[in-house]
Symmetry: C2
């Protein structure tokens, strides 16, 4: 079958040129006589992959030299568990801002190891999330180890559209579904982490960008494999890294640079999102997105049909039109279009055309 | 370049038919219009991959129903850290048998969370490992949470060639470099875990086989993501699993079944190892393997040249002869041929022929 337009939330679409190159190299990586997944992570060929990928990620995000970049396993959730172990003393206070499901998950993963307070929460009385809490309304406690938030909430489609400016805080950001979608100022954060399966590569890899002075914190008693500093000191090769996922991430970084970098991708992303929200808002209520305009995600666009009975027909028709993975997360229902870097403007245009056509037939 | 014979210790060679199938499906997994790495782990297509892979692994190893099978991230080392957290009460005694580098690593990862004793250790006075400690010589303490050992030591090429029979112990086995190489009796173990990058698939996946009653142990305070039971209860989808690595492992399991299963693979493996050790032992001292005959690994065969000055010429010539990744681990030096399931008998025959030829030219 021809490739379809893929709106999956993650694992998500990858750029087709990346897949074609991986396919061409799958049995023989650049005259190694073996696949990139069959060679030692300590050998010359893979070390080059690792170094090139880090160099390119640093270029894409202008990561300063005093930040380490780690390529680890376990997903973003494991990092949520490791955050207090690495950054906080036993029982030390840590602050969390919750604006959706993943922020709430981060709280649960930290609770066994720290004194966690949720200092801001946008959850509504009926259990929904439809907005951020603006930075100006955050009230961090004194003497905390860090302040955690989630710049983009994948399930609810809620995004902070600007960056925090909190020089007195060690800001920790779960950027799983937003990293590489727009320029960021890394210096505003102590730690940035991101599961790969949105804008970076396949699942099974998590990128951690951490200010090096934070690696010197004592943290809490823990197994050596849970020490960020040990990973930093060994080039993320404390144990065997996920070499295949890392290699693919490297190809994605090269592709992103070829697109003109994050600023160029952001321009496309902003237009994709604006077009889709305009189509929803312009449907006269046939489609509806409940997120406050100041918090509408560029990456994940959930929307409801005015008549939930039409959902099944909408999805079946979309599938037939080559528009895949539009079913919303079970926590919010309805539809969701995830429009990461690898989802081209043509895919969004095709979705909008389908939505208009569907409305005409069922409106 | 044509594919070369690949003796890498891990990440290691994968069966060529597996790579060809992955290559053919890389842009469109069975009419999904997307790669297997681009589809939701909760969608029908991936659930089928997950269920089929577990079914096939259960068939390959005759895993009883009262054992759960988990497909996780983080590598075997993270499991070494999670073992005491899941199986032991805080400060409870746990026993370890050390017969090489990875057994020693397991001790270090457990020490922060348990009262660890090394009840048997085959380390020699000069810091080498050349033998196992037979089961009969183990003296487990009373009231321990479990007893850990490493059936095959990848670096030193030391393997327990029979299985433990310790019904009073919860035996935990790091089978990273031996799982699927020979039949095992799963009932002799409480927990079996194995990093994938030897006989299972690419790195970035770890398989955990755990007796279900052990999942009910309280363990220690820990983040939800570190609970084995939560992973078991969610079909290893507590968070986004490493779908690409899991899919590839599934292809390897199908390939293993097509070869006739583990018993058939074991027959080939036994012959490969016997031929290679015979070539070493028959070289009149030109090549040498220092491991006690009762403990010689089927999977990893380290050997030294009588004259270390010849090593570089040996490796260069091997490379030219299409024999790759033969350099030994830095901890022991010399050469190492890892001859996992995916390394065919022809590769071992080619290596032996090269070794004989090299000896004639340099003997």
């Amino acid at each position: 079958m021809a490739r379809q337009y893929n709106f999956a939330a993650g694992p998500a679409a990858l750029p087709e040129p990346v897949l074609r190159r991986a396919q061409a190299e799958l049995l023989d990586y650049r005259d190694e006589g073996a696949s990139a997944m069959e060679i030692s992570h300590r050998g010359k060929a893979f070390i080059e992959i690792a170094e090139r990928s880090e160099r390119n990620l640093r270029a894409l995000l202008s990561i300063p030299d005093d930040y380490a970049v780690l390529f680890l396993q376990g997903g973003a959730t494991v990092q949520q568990a490791l955050l207090p172990l690495n950054l906080a003393a036993p029982g030390q206070a840590v602050d969390y801002v919750v604006t959706g499901h993943w922020g709430a998950t981060a709280v649960k993963e930290a609770q066994p190891s720290a004194d966690v307070a949720v200092i801001a929460n946008s959850k509504t009385a009926d259990g929904q999330y439809c907005d951020i809490v603006p930075y100006a309304e955050w009230a961090p406690r004194e003497g905390t180890a860090y302040l955690h938030y989630t710049p983009n909430e994948t399930i609810h489609g809620i995004e902070f559209l600007d960056e925090p400016d909190l020089p007195d805080q060690v800001v920790v950001a779960d950027m799983s579904s937003t990293l590489l979608s727009r320029p960021i100022d890394v210096r505003r954060y102590g730690v940035i982490y991101a599961g790969a399966q949105k804008n970076i590569g396949p699942s099974g890899l998590v990128v951690v960008i951490v200010r090096r002075d934070l690696l010197e914190r004592a943290g809490q008693p823990r197994a050596p494999i849970f020490h960020w500093k040990r990973h930093a000191d060994t080039g993320s090769m404390l144990n065997t890294p996920p070499t295949l996922a890392w290699y693919l991430a490297g190809l994605v970084f090269e592709w992103a640079l070829e697109q003109g970098g994050v600023a160029a991708l952001a321009k496309v992303n902003a237009n994709k999102a604006a077009d889709l929200y305009a189509a929803i808002d312009g449907s006269g209520g046939f489609y509806r997105n409940s997120v406050a305009p100041r918090a509408r995600s560029w990456m994940n666009v959930p929307f409801l049909l005015h008549d939930p009975a039409l959902e099944s027909a909408f999805l079946t028709g979309a599938d037939q039109a080559g528009l895949r993975a539009l079913k919303g997360h079970r926590a919010v229902g309805g539809m969701r279009a995830s429009i990461y870097n690898a989802v081209p403007a043509e895919a969004v245009a095709a979705l909008i055309a389908y939505m208009k056509d569907f409305q005409q037939r069922h409106g």
